[in-house]
Symmetry: C2
């Protein structure tokens, strides 16, 4: 194969304007100019050239797992921390690669990187507020594939920005929702598509994760938040002071959105959200400070439990839970319920967990849950059959590896991203919409249709390859459109 970046076909809704050629000075869609001469040497077109923006804990994990996936060149990395850059450079060299160029020194250093480097893909793992500005800059800079961490967007305006810039540039953005790639989640997807649960009626999901020790950094029982703190506590906890809604809906809604064909034959119509009172974080501060500590002055807007009900165009309902301020074991609280059966995925992600249960009418013993394990093994997804052994060393039990493998495969083969701008917008929109509904005491609010009506005709496409094709009756109805 020849090296020719012009071959990167645009698969977005709107045809793209072509990407910067090699060794030319080009003007991209938005009038920015840049020189691309350093890319002129002959190179292997199967090697994906990646730049990473944000290499904190999460971003560094992505570099590590991307190197394990292979077939990539870490061209550049960008972070405020020179130490993080040094670490990642060492990691890449150790893996046999060339030290990636480091960009640092300003929160806007990423703009320089996007201007200077020729990249097939950018991966963004920064604080929430930066996801959309960076993803937009990446698309506008002509990067054909941008992967952005969850939640992708914080406001409705940001949701629209992702969609609009994707459509305007023809460049693609993928929401890197790793739970869509969790082994049990993908096996359930096979079962859903094979109609094992019948017609889907009701789903549940959530983020039930005691984050008190993440929203605050804890050191020798001393706690810190905001600028004084370390790691995620520098910014993540601050959202709980100002905002009251489902701040982190996509780990649950990603998988459920896939099961229910959201944006591809179905869509979210309306939601109603209620927040409980806020006590958990105040109590956490009280438990970890002395009487006169100024932290005790902080009031937290975020209700401890925020529950959201969503109605879908095809008549299904979804319950989404946000539960991050109280002591409890971790769970994403999955439920998928149809006319033939039900999956309860309340474990921590391991499919042998006791919280993983399945009941299928006519196959399970009457009135009795099956442990899910046998079902999940039987319907194990092709991705995991093929790469499961390799994945298992990777982040979050291997799902990060499987996701990155899918992402780079998409980039390498110039395909449509499996989780696209419309998914990023619809799933992330729950944050802003739930804040509106909570503020009105649980009043209904409407979802924007980010696809502008295209959801009616679009077909499900996520992770469709493999051993378990879609049931013929489902395929038939999809193909009417």
């Amino acid at each position: 194969m020849k090296t020719n970046r012009r071959e990167f076909v645009k698969t977005g809704t709107v045809a793209g304007l072509g990407i910067a050629g090699i060794g030319l000075t080009v003007t991209n869609t938005f009038g920015q100019k840049r020189a691309k001469s350093k890319d002129a040497i002959i190179r292997d077109p199967n090697i994906v050239r990646v730049g990473f923006i944000g290499i904190g804990g999460r971003g560094t994990g992505h570099v590590h797992d991307s190197l394990t996936v292979g077939g990539i060149e870490v061209v550049s990395v960008c972070d405020l921390s020179q130490e993080a850059i040094d670490n990642v450079q060492k990691m890449v060299i150790k893996s046999g690669g060339k030290a990636p160029k480091g960009y640092t020194g300003s929160p806007h250093a990423f703009e320089q990187m996007l201007k200077n480097e020729v990249l097939d893909a950018v991966i963004i793992a920064t604080p929430w507020d930066w996801h959309v500005p960076m993803a937009i800059a990446s698309m506008k800079a002509g990067v054909p594939y941008t992967g952005v961490e969850v939640s992708a967007a914080n406001t409705l305006e940001e949701c629209w920005d992702l969609v609009n810039v994707h459509e305007q540039t023809g460049n693609q953005v993928m929401i890197m929702e790793n739970v869509c790639y969790r082994r049990d989640v993908m096996a359930i997807l096979n079962m859903v598509r094979k109609n094992i649960f019948g017609e889907l009626i009701h789903c549940r999901c959530g983020y039930e994760h005691d984050l008190r020790g993440v929203k605050f950094s804890v050191d020798d029982d001393e706690i810190k938040i905001g600028k004084e703190a370390e790691s995620e506590a520098q910014w993540r906890g601050l959202h709980s002071i100002k905002r009251n809604g489902d701040l982190y809906p996509t780990h649950g809604l990603g998988p459920i959105g896939i099961y229910l064909d959201i944006n591809k034959g179905n869509r979210f119509l309306t939601l109603s959200s209620m927040a409980s009172k806020s006590r958990g974080l105040k109590k956490f501060v009280s438990d970890h400070t002395k009487k006169d500590d100024t932290y005790r002055e902080i009031n937290f807007n975020l209700g401890d439990i925020v529950t959201t009900m969503i109605k879908c165009a095809n008549g299904e309902t979804i319950i989404v839970t946000h539960d991050t301020n109280l002591p409890r074991p971790y769970s994403l609280g999955f439920r998928v319920q149809g006319t033939n059966g039900i999956w309860k995925g309340e474990g921590g992600g391991d499919w042998t967990d006791a919280g993983e249960q399945i009941y299928v009418e006519g196959q399970s013993k009457e009135h009795t849950w099956d442990k899910a394990e046998e079902w999940l093994k039987k319907y194990d997804h092709q991705y995991w059959r093929d790469k499961g052994d390799q994945a298992t060393g990777g982040g979050h039990g291997g799902m990060d590896f499987i996701m990155l493998n899918d992402f780079f495969d998409t980039v390498r083969n110039k395909k449509q991203v499996p989780l696209d701008a419309y998914d990023a917008a619809a799933w992330s929109a729950v944050s802003a919409l739930s804040e509106m509904s909570v503020a009105r005491g649980g009043a209904l609010v409407d979802f924007p249709d980010f696809t502008r009506g295209q959801w009616i005709k679009r077909h499900p496409s996520f992770a469709k390859d493999g051993k378990f094709p879609t049931a013929p009756e489902r395929e038939y109805i999809e193909n009417l459109f």
Copy 2:
């Protein structure tokens, strides 16, 4: 003790007008006259004279368990079925009692019974539509204690009728919500009152029970509904044709209402309900009929899953699920979550069930559920410590026995009923309110305050005796009011 029905102290909100004396012709509150002469013989005042209205499966169970509880005389029974009356008469004779008088021949035969008999208590176990008319008639006839099956009321008007007639007559009505007496539910109540879970933040409950074989009578795979059917299928299934809301909220909301001190320091403020599409019953009909069967013409208004979010005055949220049309194992889907810990009660009611899990910060292993059993044993309620062995043969794993024992103890000792007209109204109101909200796509609707503001000052009273008194800090706050 002397026999004197005048001694029955009225404990309702409004002082009663006194009950029919013995051997007198009296005019009660509502002007009805009746002769009471047959009651003139000296009798043991500790024997509670009971009349049963409705002795189908449920009512007959109540007679049986009431006889096991002891200290009662089954004075009369009323049912449309003479066969049912014959059976119960035999049952009472076999237990050493005198055959109760049978009333039958018309749906209004109960009026005759209420007019003729001197009763300390009436227990009503009839189809839902009859609960309130019969309870009202019983209170108006001067019966001091009326127990009524769940749900107590179907409409808001009926909810108000229960409250208003109770207040007008001074006679009491108890909603016979047996799940409030389930062994795990009562142990959790002890834990709640002892502050083991901390301040309560969020609760869940529901009725997740595949009722397809109850809404239809099934015989040799032939199904029937309505007038053509047997048992509950004669009437219960019909509600699913006409109504779309949470038709049966009290098994879950009873316990949660007790935990959250609803009507006694707290109240339900607003709710929002969404219904999924309706598929389960139509599919059930399709699976059990031939192509030209007229049953296939029936459309069912009831969405398969109806979810309700409730906001309470004290800031807690509650999620209530109604799930009766789809295949699944039984559960009441309990969750009680506070600032210190959480109970997940998703088993079938047996506290050894794997679905029963507890996590308490500082006591449970970090991030790990405890099997609930040890906790529940430790906090076993006094009622079960005292009567558990005797109860276990009774209906629904013994909770019916514990409930009836509490009811008759209340009657015998002229106490305030543990689950009163306000509870019956507030819990049952969720049916009507959820229908309104569902019809508006999930819009918020307001709860009436059935206590007319008295909830602010009323104190929790349900099952307060025993080994685990309320934590001093809770008691202190209660006593400010």
